[in-house]
């Protein structure tokens, strides 16, 4: 129980301290999963600065983030503390142009 609180607190801290956070497999430079790589590529193309958190390096975060978001898969994108979605949702929002507006509405610099 003690450690669950700690994990949730750590996740809250990460998504509060950083405007854009991607929980992913691998790192932004070396993604270790195609779905994580796809989201990294979208964010990079849009010029959005983000913090990547490698869940493979931390099993507690890997399990903890799934429970925190009620979301069973990685990657997971957070913007200003709000869960945006996984790979499918981010890709859909990017392809229909919604993502750029979403970032701008949240005060994050992004290009189309």
């Amino acid at each position: 129980m003690m450690s669950e609180v700690t994990i949730n607190d750590r996740i809250k801290q990460d998504i509060t301290d950083n405007p854009v956070v991607l929980f992913m497999k691998g790192t932004p430079v070396f993604p270790q999963c195609g779905f994580s790589a796809a989201v990294v590529q979208i964010l990079t193309t849009m010029g959005v600065k983000f913090k990547g958190i490698d869940v493979l390096a931390d099993p507690e975060i890997r399990q903890g983030i799934k429970e925190f978001s009620s979301w069973p898969t990685i990657p997971q994108l957070y913007v200003k503390g709000e869960f945006v979605g996984g790979c499918d949702i981010v890709r859909e929002m990017y392809e229909n142009g919604e993502l750029e507006g979403f970032f701008k509405d949240h005060g994050i610099a992004a290009r189309a």
Partner: protein
């Protein structure tokens, strides 16, 4: 660890009985699927909430036996 398309469809419909479901086996390997799900239960819900309803119907298989399921969800068009 593979799961077949009919089983995915059955699980989704067990959680969302009105759902129209289409499953595509993207690589023919029983491990990478795409699902299109249309259900009245999605009305007024965000995309995240819509996907969460599908994940709930899959009863914990998503991320386990089912590694890759690209999801597209929407309410029925009026």
């Amino acid at each position: 660890m593979a799961i077949d398309a009919a089983e995915i469809e059955r699980l989704i419909k067990s959680g969302l009985p009105d759902a129209q479901v289409r499953i595509d086996d993207l690589r023919g390997d029983g491990d990478h699927y795409a699902a299109t799900v249309i259900s009245a239960a999605f009305k007024g819900k965000s995309r995240v909430q819509q996907h969460q309803l599908v994940y709930k119907a899959l009863q914990g298989r998503m991320g386990n036996e089912l590694h890759a399921l690209a999801l597209q969800t929407s309410p029925p068009q009026d």
